[in-house]
């Protein structure tokens, strides 16, 4: 997994594109933990450079103890670098005012055990100087979002680890931050929680927010990150977009409904003319355990079973979507009265269709939400991203087409 890449190549990959908005810049960052007498105990981070741009989801990937949390704590001014330079929004990490734009979920639940969830969020809201009305509104939405609306009066100390993570996440988002730093966000969460966090991260990024997350779970990173660095022993061993890091450009994979035997034979025959038999691999795609589990829970939720644990909230808090609930409902209503017309945007986003398979209203709300978000997303970054996404699919398809057509051509020639 640890791909070694030499320095020059790193600079090439990180320097691509004309990213003007650097949110976090880290240069030559080194952290040596010292004991009381100043002898060094551990070199937790060793000469690390990277930059994080606005609107991207940036992953710090690495095994336990590789220096991810230490890096994050230095970004937040909780630890001071032994060497090197950090800028967050163009300021030192110790600049107090900058912190109003940052949300942080620590790796452990560093919350007050004697406060209940509402009091906890209210306290942190006060630290952001939010008005009482803002606090009330946001807290309600956040609790709804993280699925703890039912357990408001129990103190955080009694919560399970996963529930504490959820509160931790809620407090990280109370200021609607521009930069969200999540240290192992999925640690201790059930699969639904993981899914929800990932959805949240994606929707934050879609609004032009920057997300930095650390994880040792490959699936987390794979699902949401635009760009990752791979840590090992305090050093960066690889950096780049997932596509760059994972692409194996000389193979393709097709998925289709099961074919009749003779059709499959014919297709295979065609392929065999080009490729040796042992390099072709055929299987039935298995459902991943994650999606299997999610299905079951989805059904159970349909039957409205009660739980004393965390409920899944699922919907991202409205203020984090930059639109009020009122506006949203209004729009959906309007939409319902003008049935039939499809907007250009809807057609442009075919990839999002698979997410929504519930009732019509839900579907409409969802689409409406996305449509509404798009104009609000400031900057070109997001459009760029979408285009990239679309492009990626197009490229893949066109490649497949090319290959297929070339295959058939050859067949005909033969």
């Amino acid at each position: 997994m640890a791909v070694t890449v030499d320095k020059q190549e790193l600079e090439k990959t990180s320097g691509n594109g004309a990213h003007s908005d650097v949110v976090v810049a880290v240069r030559g960052l080194t952290k040596v933990f010292k004991d009381f007498w100043g002898r060094s105990k551990a070199r937790a981070v060793n000469d690390v450079d990277f930059e994080v741009y606005r609107g991207e989801v940036f992953g710090l990937l690495g095994p336990n103890g590789s220096g991810k949390s230490t890096t994050i704590k230095m970004l937040l001014g909780l630890l001071y670098p032994t060497k090197g330079h950090i800028e967050v929004f163009g300021h030192s990490p110790r600049h107090v005012a900058t912190k109003s734009r940052i949300g942080y979920l620590p790796e452990e639940s560093y919350l007050y055990r004697y406060l209940d969830s509402r009091e906890t969020l209210d306290f942190f809201g006060n630290l952001f100087r939010l008005s009482p009305e803002d606090r009330k509104e946001r807290i309600t939405q956040l609790l709804e979002m993280v699925g703890l609306a039912q357990t408001q009066t129990r103190v955080v100390g009694e919560f399970s680890k996963g529930m504490q993570r959820r509160i931790g996440l809620a407090q990280a988002l109370i200021n609607d931050p521009d930069l969200v730093i999540l240290d192992e966000p999925t640690a201790g969460l059930d699969p639904i929680g993981c899914r929800e966090i990932k959805d949240l991260i994606v929707s934050l990024a879609r609004r032009g927010k920057t997300v930095i997350l650390s994880s040792h779970l490959l699936a987390d990173v794979e699902d949401v990150c635009d760009r990752v660095v791979v840590y090992f022993g305090g050093r960066i061993h690889a950096m780049g977009t997932l596509k760059e890091l994972l692409a194996t450009p000389d193979s393709i994979r097709m998925t289709m409904p099961a074919l009749p035997k003779e059709t499959l034979e014919r297709v295979l025959e065609i392929i065999r003319r080009d490729v040796a038999d042992d390099r072709i691999h055929i299987d039935t795609p298995e459902q991943s355990l994650e999606s299997y589990f999610l299905d079951i829970v989805e059904k159970a939720r349909g039957e409205a079973l009660e739980t004393s644990g965390a409920l899944s909230g699922g919907t991202v808090a409205p203020y984090l979507r930059g639109e009020s609930e009122q506006e949203r409902k209004q729009r959906v209503l309007e939409r319902l009265t003008h049935t039939g017309e499809k907007t250009a945007e809807e057609e442009k986003a075919p990839s999002e269709k698979h997410e929504v398979k519930e009732e019509v209203l839900n579907k409409l709300m969802e689409q409406e939400r996305k449509a509404a978000e798009r104009p609000l997303e400031s900057g070109t970054k997001d459009k760029e991203k979408e285009e990239k996404e679309a492009q990626r699919e197009k490229v893949d398809l066109s490649k497949a087409n090319e290959k297929l057509s070339s295959l058939t051509k050859r067949e005909r020639e033969d």
Partner: protein
């Protein structure tokens, strides 16, 4: 401000949720209400004051002092150790605000507790007063449950005389190696002794100016508070020796001059009640004492004689006393927080308790400083011991005394139990010295260290 208040509220809430408030209130109530009920007074007004005021207020102050140090150390060091501080300082709140919020939180808690204890003490006192014998109740109402300010005779200006005499002596003396500083000291002591002393068969007169208060107290009884020493009483401190004294108070030419003869013990304070109407037109009280004994009586310059007069109600004075206690606790809270700004909880608690004890053992320290050694002087040989510890202990104690001396002298409990008025000016001075200067210094130190410190280095797991 919103941030500071949020942190203050949180700190208070922590104490509340951990039942600290409840337990402390119970302990306080036990100490303030129940214990004094069990203790029988001796039936005198003084005994009453001793138990109800000195005892309960001292317990309250001591309990609050300890709990404040504990809480102040715990609230900050605990946040650092459990990592909760990490979720706070990544918010846009300066660390000095976090520090100040914690201090405020501790002080809110103390205000509540001290208020409660004060109210109960006051109530218990009023209630118990009804159980005293009638003549003692009168003493109580006149001397204890009052707020009396004092006026003292002006301290004579000696500097000029000392200068002059020293110069004269130096000129007269042929010895060139005469130590001028030593000579000056001796001359001063001689002069002071002359002024303080009332020789046998002689009398002495003071004019005590009541200043602005004179008009208010002209038709009230006044109290003369006196204390004297004799050479014999100073040698044999264990025995109380009684001396006769003859007093004459009031304007010379007036027929209303008031006289009394009293037999008083040396080395102790005595109160002599003076009837109303003894002030002269300028608001001055003329006091004359005759010494019929064969020994000289010495009235110390600083507290040998003073006139007490009513200045405010006891309730007002009581509140002023509580305020000063509150300032002391504020200082302790600042010291505890300052220690916790860079130390872990146990170490911080240990250090601040040590500071508390050091502050209270000034008597020992001043002895060490004056004798110049920790080993003490051998009184038979008059030889001073010496050890290498002295080399740093003496200057260290000197420094501590310097600091403590700056805050000392604010002892509201003494004042309350003797019915002595604590003027607002003293409350102000206590605020300035204890809160603004000393707590301010501790706070500045604590805030600077706390701001510079890495907060994510060491955590306990729960």
């Amino acid at each position: 401000m919103q941030q500071i208040l949020a942190i203050a509220r949180l700190t208070f809430r922590a104490a509340y949720r951990f039942k600290l408030v409840l337990i402390l209130s119970l302990v306080l109530l036990g100490g303030v209400v129940l214990l004094p009920l069990v203790l029988e007074g001796d039936g005198t007004a003084q005994g009453f004051a001793q138990i109800v005021i000195t005892y309960t207020l001292s317990i309250t102050a001591a309990l609050l002092a300890i709990s404040t140090l504990w809480l102040a150390c715990g609230t900050l060091a605990g946040d650092v150790e459990y990592g909760t501080i990490q979720t706070i300082t990544v918010k846009p709140v300066s660390r000095w605000r976090v520090w100040l919020g914690k201090w405020l939180g501790v002080m809110i808690l103390n205000a509540v507790l001290l208020g409660l204890a004060g109210a109960f003490t006051f109530g218990a006192m009023k209630w118990r007063a009804t159980k005293l014998p009638p003549e003692q109740r009168q003493v109580l109402d006149n001397e204890v449950l009052v707020s009396r300010a004092s006026a003292k005779p002006p301290v004579p200006e000696l500097d000029k005389a000392v200068d002059q005499l020293t110069k004269q002596r130096l000129e007269e003396s042929s010895a060139a190696d005469l130590n001028e500083e030593l000579l000056r000291q001796q001359i001063r002591i001689q002069l002071e002794a002359q002024i303080q002393t009332v020789p046998p068969k002689y009398s002495r007169r003071w004019m005590i100016d009541l200043g602005a208060a004179a008009d208010d107290v002209r038709d009230q009884p006044l109290f003369l508070r006196v204390k004297f020493q004799t050479s014999r009483s100073m040698m044999e401190t264990l025995e109380s020796i009684i001396y006769d004294t003859a007093w004459r108070v009031g304007p010379v030419d007036s027929p209303s001059t008031w006289r009394t003869n009293r037999s008083l013990t040396a080395n102790a304070f005595h109160e002599i009640r003076i009837p109303a109407g003894m002030l002269d037109n300028e608001g001055k009280l003329r006091v004359e004492v005759g010494n019929p004994n064969d020994e000289a009586l010495m009235f110390p310059l600083d507290n040998g004689i003073e006139v007490l007069y009513r200045e405010a109600s006891f309730g007002v004075n009581f509140i002023r006393g509580l305020l000063i206690i509150y300032f002391w606790i504020g200082l302790l809270a600042a010291v505890g927080l300052a220690a916790a700004s860079f130390l872990s909880f146990p170490v911080a608690a240990f250090c601040s308790v040590t500071i508390l004890i050091l502050g209270m053992s000034t008597g020992l320290m001043s002895r060490v400083v004056s004798e110049g050694t920790v080993l003490g002087v051998n009184h038979e040989t008059g030889e001073a011991g010496s050890s290498f510890i002295d080399w740093f202990a003496v200057p260290f104690f000197k420094a501590v005394l310097e600091v403590v001396g700056f805050a000392k002298g604010f002892s509201p409990i003494d004042a309350l139990s003797t019915g002595t008025s604590i003027p607002w000016s003293e409350v102000g001075l206590a605020f300035f010295r204890l809160i603004m200067v000393m707590s301010g210094f501790a706070a500045a130190l604590g805030m600077i260290i706390f701001t510079r410190r890495e907060l994510a280095t060491a955590q306990l797991s729960r």
